[in-house]
Subunit: 255 residues, 2 copies
DNA sequence: CCGGGTTTTTGTCTGTCAGGCACAAACTCG
DNA sequence: CGAGTTTGTGCCTGACAGACAAAAACCCGG
């Protein structure tokens, strides 16, 4: 069953080898330019739901639909600065515990008005804060997203995929959880974000062994409904750390 | 040691809550526009080295420096189509076994001529082909990259990081290896890409167990220097498949 | 055609780690 | 002080990666 070629990407091909000179693309006196915007998929765990921050558009197109926060890139800022600036109009950006670039969307039809590229970011707000947001802005459970403008729903789902994956092989949990937390709380956050149960007892051992979390020594006031007072934990690093890469990857003879 | 606030992202903050209306960013009659280009970090294993495809710039700026293939985004194409089109000037894009978006660079100073955003792609060419490339273009070992134009060296390193990570938790190997291969060959590819030894015997079991590769039934002509003839393997899927997510992630009671 | 050299393949052992379960510990409330 | 509730610990199992050793399959020279 060996076709003698390998599977090929289905792409038209420039047969005659073309000029190897210069910039290599389209040419012309003035470079072609497009609009460019930064968008953010900001998650927070509220109640037991993973929620995303959306605002309701007041103007067409997509009047009345929900949209991701963001907007046009400014002349002197890079995308990271831009998304922070724009986000500041919707939430207190000091609440953002983590922010990373997600992907860039470039479908020529994604904005009906004019050609606009969008670079999406993934932002995380810890569960213990409740940022003040404007009238038109609110948190929506990712479990059932409302009708959304442009390709924003697709971007939001992409952000959730990324978050779920990273919870497994990084310490991003620190950006969902408060500075200190009990294991039951943490397993609640993980459950909400991942969409399935996470046993607190296992989570504890795993994160401890990975060195992601540590005990603070203190325990919770032990309030409400009786039961053993829970120990308080914290994340050791509050910046992104990647867990050991997969197995075959690991250099031999490494502990 | 509980400061009562969590670590905060170091960002200036818009104190007075600002207008919640409209597009939310800069406004003006005409949207601000920038140049936008697509670049590709194309890897191939040549000899026992992981190499990246570069071309030598003939014009300033960075005259004479090596650069990643790519160029300006066209008016009707999305970034994927654009990078394929531009790449076709440097290699036969039918040789590309894999192509995925990497990241977008937006430093205002990255191109001294005019503001240009760049979206980088990661491309992979299997080891068994030797694409014809133009005069100005060639393969360079990633182990020591030459002086490169703009921020291209940084992007190339970023691409290598991504490749190495993905070799561990996906089947991207299919895009580095020929359609059929022996385990010694495959372990060679992995070693070159990862930068450290990979035992063929373990690689075999791991990839078999993960269901990534399978035996073809045939074995290699058994040529050169004696020894047992090696069995030929192939990847089951020649499209990107992600290996089981990490452990804590896995839903409970899943086999 | 027999045995040494070479390469691949199979099997075994060990150590790490995740998930499940049961029980002990710690606390509240009546 | 005991019942109820929640949290923490210990133990077992099963999956899996890495190392190593031995077997298998082939070439070649004598």
């Amino acid at each position: 069953m060996v076709e003698n070629g390998r599977d090929r990407v289905d792409i038209p091909h420039a047969n005659g080898r073309t000029v190897p000179t210069g910039e290599g693309g389209l040419s012309g006196p003035h470079p072609r330019k497009f609009g460019h915007e930064a968008l953010a998929v900001v998650f927070q765990i509220r109640g037991d739901q993973l929620c995303v921050l959306l605002w309701r558009r007041a103007l067409p197109p997509w009047e009345g639909a929900w949209a991701l926060p963001g907007g046009r890139l400014g002349g002197e800022e890079d995308l990271g600065a831009s998304i922070r600036r724009q986000l500041a109009q919707k939430v207190d950006v000091r609440d953002l515990a983590h922010l990373e670039q997600l992907e860039t969307r470039s479908d020529p039809e994604r904005d009906p008005r004019h050609r606009t590229l969008a670079t999406a970011y993934l932002g995380l707000v810890p569960a213990d804060v409740d940022p003040i947001v404007p009238e038109d802005t609110g948190w929506h459970p990712t479990a059932d997203l409302p009708a959304m403008a442009f390709d924003h729903a697709s971007i939001a789902r992409s952000g959730r995929r990324r978050l779920r994956a990273k919870l497994g092989y990084t310490n991003v949990g620190f950006a969902l959880a408060p500075p200190e937390f009990t294991m039951s709380q943490l397993s609640g956050y993980y459950s909400s974000a991942l969409g399935h149960d996470v046993a607190a007892t296992n989570l504890r051992r795993v994160l401890l062994r990975r060195g992601q979390i540590e005990e603070t020594g203190r325990s919770v006031p032990s309030g409400r409904s009786g039961g053993r007072p829970a120990a308080l934990f914290r994340f050791r690093d509050r910046s992104l750390q990647v867990t050991d890469e997969f197995a075959v990857l690991r250099p031999p003879n490494a502990p």
